[in-house]
């Protein structure tokens, strides 16, 4: 059947632009204020958020430049032409493993949060499994549909998030931001590590840019897509601090959801609105999970070209489920998340910078003037 011009399997620049914040925000935004408040005095976290954001922005820029040197080529194929095929296989495979880990982490945190805010008795295994089934249903469809799906959820999620912040404005206490610049070097180090890690996930650019219809002009969109989570993180972090204060924030499990607790629906039709916020956020976690899962499949598919997508889905789903349930309690979940994200950020930044430099030195790919 002929498909319509914009209905084909291409991804538009705008769609990829919105996928970046989706995969970055995911579950991280729920506990980011807490992680930063543990290390940083006052509101000093904004510094590391911006520094971390700048580093990520720079990495996204390099990724875009790297991918644009090889228009319409997959990561695997241009990695092959830059280094050797064997190295490319290893790199792509590691990326796939990391994204599988990220998807598993997202699913597990969702299961855990739902226990916190929705049901106490339902075991996390059941919640995660049902979520995974829906993820598998989404992944089995077409790839372009995932981006359409993300584009349907993203406005809802952002609207609800901004609404929560807006409602909280009347409880803001600016004095909570003090004292400024009191954090010691060790605190800064910890904060910077956290803030660099929460931005992890932008490596999807490497894989999806090959599918974008007009990649040449995409670089601005990618940067804008990366700026969105920086702004949202800053807003959420500052609001949590201004409303709860540093001490309280550092003791809350998911400060962002707790921000929603303050909402009172006029007329008192519903109580415990934070559960509703969590429900909406399920869509956000869902978007992050399907994109991470899909990147893993895309990466593996570029190595094993003969296998069908549905086979990857069937093989990977049990692995994701197993990984998601591997950590025993919340501290192990957090540790698992930290390992995954550290590995993701370290691996992707080293790989990308190295590939970019090698490509420049060996003069592989399109000339540098063209991509400007």
């Amino acid at each position: 059947m002929k498909s319509f011009q914009y209905g084909d399997e291409k991804i538009s620049k705008n769609q990829l632009m919105l996928a970046i914040p989706s995969v970055i925000l995911g579950v991280d935004i729920l506990q980011l204020p807490k992680d930063l408040a543990v290390d940083m005095d006052g509101a000093d976290g904004w510094i590391v958020l911006i520094v971390g954001g700048a580093i990520s922005l720079f990495l996204v820029w390099i990724m875009t430049r790297l991918a644009l040197r090889f228009p319409k080529q997959t990561f695997f194929s241009y990695a092959t032409s830059i280094v050797s095929k064997k190295v490319a296989i290893v790199l792509t495979f590691l990326f796939a493993v990391l994204f599988i880990g990220l998807a598993a982490f997202d699913i597990r945190v969702l299961g855990h949060t739902s226990q916190q805010y929705l049901f106490d008795n339902t075991p996390v295994e059941v919640v995660s499994l049902s979520f995974l089934f829906v993820v598998v249903y989404a992944i089995s469809g077409s790839r372009a549909a995932l981006f359409r799906l993300n584009m349907m959820f993203f406005p809802i999620i952002i609207t609800v998030l901004l609404f929560v912040l807006l409602v909280n404005v009347k409880w803001v206490e600016l004095s909570n931001l003090m004292p400024a610049f009191q954090t010691d070097v060790k605190g800064f180090g910890g904060g910077l590590k956290t803030s660099v890690l929460v931005y992890g996930g932008y490596s999807i650019v490497l894989f999806y840019l090959a599918l974008v219809d007009q990649p040449k002009k995409a670089s601005k969109h990618m940067m804008f897509g990366m700026v969105t989570p920086i702004v949202l993180y800053l807003l959420v972090y500052l609001f949590s601090l201004m409303i709860f204060g540093r001490t309280a924030t550092s003791h809350l499990l998911y400060p962002t959801i707790d921000l929603a607790k303050r909402i009172e629906i006029p007329g008192g039709i519903l109580e415990r609105v934070e559960a509703l916020f969590f429900i909406v956020w399920t869509m956000g976690v869902f978007a992050a999970t399907i994109i991470a899962f899909d990147v893993a499949i895309l990466a593996l598919n570029s190595i094993f070209k003969r296998m069908k997508k549905i086979h990857f889905v069937l093989i990977l789903s049990p692995i994701v489920y197993y990984l998601a349930l591997f950590p025993k309690d919340i501290s192990e979940v957090n540790m698992f998340g930290e390992i995954i994200r550290s590995a993701m950020v370290a691996f992707s930044s080293i790989t990308v910078v190295a590939l970019f430099l090698i490509a420049k030195l060996r003069k592989v790919g399109g000339n540098d003037n063209a991509s400007k």
């Binding site: 002929k2 929705l118 049902s130 829906v134 799906l149 349907m152 429900i279 399920t282």
Partner: protein, 518 residues
């Protein structure tokens, strides 16, 4: 045994082959032979009328043939029969057979549409389509005169889609009338009617209508291609076509819109859509249809924009209620009672006191009862239908509450849901909502609010994967066309609606000049 069946089919096959040969064969110059063949082909039915007339100076045998119920008797008598009988007395009539035939065709027959048939197939199909056939001895061709008549319904207000404001014309069963209605509504030279004959045994005409220069050729070609692929014995209603050419038969969502209203079809044409009309049914199909279209009504445009917008938002709200209200009740009462304010929770608990079933069972019981009532109400004649509504709705509802089988609040919820499901412009989308509602209720009974959001995500996954004639169903929400949002949930003022829907990629995007007011 097997061999006998085989032989039998072989025999049938031979007979079919023979029949096929007769159909393909050219007309015999001997009129008696042709008439005999025709009689044999149709098995001499009672309503087949063969009127033999001797005409001309040589008294040549000729015949007019028709099926009595399908033609306009008065027309045949006044415009054909009388004229033919005149020939005998007419001085100017030529003697030679061939000339006579031509003269009859050109001068004597006063029927507007006349064709020439060459084969038995032409003649047989022509007669069955309500044409009158004229044959002259010694000629190997026949005249097919369009004398279609018979009883048909006059143009009435459509029953299934009533509006307060707007034209009252609805399509009828007669294709010619429907085409004329469309022509009257869309008065442009670019209106195209592409004709198809469908059905292997029972032939029916089908028209694919579109406005050239507006419609994207990809859509028109795709519709025509799919219609050509139809391979059915008989197409009784446009629903057959819809089900044959839709993109996904597994989806509960309609991928073609159907309407009885000529103004709705006309506005679809002007937007760049394709309209499919089938002979014998007042329901025409509109393709493609997307998510944004299913809650639009022609009335939105006739009323002023504030009213139109209000109605649209109301309809979206009603759709949400129709989909999730029972599911919301189940999840709030069973799984998250803590989310209800204490007073409300107490009053629900008080009203549920003595109800023997858990809320899930209660909800399913009532929803199914409601579905039964709706179905029963439609099938019965109107006066009894009202009775069923009263007996079912009021008596059963009231009795169920006082018997303590269901709680009053459940009855309120079901009533609200049922009303909301009917507050949408097309009947078929209401059924879609009713089906999906059960899914939501199931999900809510397992996982509460979390289940509802999972079900919502699944509906969305389905929508983004669905297409209607190659166009993603979820557009213009996503793939996003912000320009189309002016006529989506909000119906912007008429002066601002200067463009046709972008998601249809029309050849001519502008439908009005911007900012110009008269």
């Amino acid at each position: 045994m097997v061999r006998r069946i085989f032989r039998k089919t072989n025999f049938q096959h031979k007979e079919n082959q023979q029949k096929q040969n007769t159909l393909q064969s050219n007309l015999d110059s001997n009129i008696d032979l042709t008439l005999q063949k025709l009689k044999k082909l149709l098995d001499e039915p009672n309503d087949l009328v063969i009127r033999e007339i001797k005409i001309g100076k040589k008294s040549t045998t000729s015949a007019i043939i028709y099926i009595s119920g399908l033609i306009d008797r008065q027309l045949v008598q006044d415009s054909i029969l009388v004229n033919l009988q005149d020939i005998t007395t007419n001085e100017s009539a030529p003697e030679e057979n061939k000339k006579l035939f031509n003269q009859i065709q050109q001068s004597f027959i006063s029927i507007t549409a006349v064709e020439i048939g060459q084969t038995m197939d032409d003649i047989a199909n022509g007669i069955l389509a309500g044409k009158t056939v004229f044959m002259l001895d010694g000629q190997e061709k026949a005249l097919l005169m369009d004398t279609k008549g018979g009883e048909s319904r006059s143009i009435q207000q459509p029953i299934s889609e009533t509006v307060v404001r707007g034209p009252r014309t609805g399509f009828v069963e007669n294709l010619g009338t429907n085409l004329s209605l469309l022509r009257r509504a869309v008065q442009t030279q670019d209106l195209r009617f592409k004709a198809h004959q469908i059905g292997k045994r029972s032939k029916r005409s089908l028209i694919v209508a579109y406005v050239d220069g507006i419609v994207n050729p990809t859509i028109a070609d795709e519709v025509n291609r799919r219609i050509q692929s139809i391979d059915m014995d008989d197409v009784q209603e446009s629903g057959f076509i819809e089900q044959w050419i839709e993109d996904s038969f597994l989806s509960p969502f309609p991928q073609l819109d159907n309407t009885e209203r000529s103004d709705k079809a006309a506005s679809a044409l002007m937007q760049g859509k394709v309209v499919i009309l089938l002979d014998g049914t007042p329901f025409v199909l509109i393709a493609p249809v997307v998510l944004g279209d299913i809650l639009k009504s022609p009335e939105d445009y006739y009323e002023r924009w504030l009213i139109g917008t209000f109605l649209r938002i109301l309809r979206y709200f009603a759709a949400i209620i129709a989909l999730i209200l029972p599911a919301l009740y189940i999840s709030l009462v069973t799984i998250h009672p803590g989310m209800l304010p204490t007073d409300l929770a107490l009053s629900i608990a008080a009203s549920r006191e003595g109800v023997p079933f858990p809320p899930v069972v209660e909800a399913f019981l009532m929803v199914i009862t409601m579905e039964l009532l709706q179905e029963a109400g439609i099938r019965l004649p109107t006066p009894i239908g009202t009775t069923i509504g009263i007996v079912g709705g009021l008596v059963i509802g009231e009795a169920a509450v006082s018997a303590g089988v269901v709680s009053p609040i459940m009855v309120i919820i079901i009533g609200l849901t049922a009303i909301a499901a009917f507050a949408n412009p097309t009947f078929s989308i209401g059924i879609t909502f009713r089906i999906i509602r059960f899914g939501f209720m199931l999900a809510a009974s397992f996982f509460g609010l979390y289940g509802i959001v999972l079900a919502y995500i699944m509906v969305n996954i389905h929508l983004v994967n669905l297409r209607s004639f190659g166009i993603p169903y979820s557009t213009p929400f996503s793939p996003t066309f912000v320009g189309d949002w002016k006529d989506l949930i909000v119906r912007a003022p008429m002066t601002m609606l200067t463009e046709r829907p972008r998601f249809l990629s029309p050849e001519d995007l502008k439908s009005a000049k911007k900012g110009e007011k008269n």
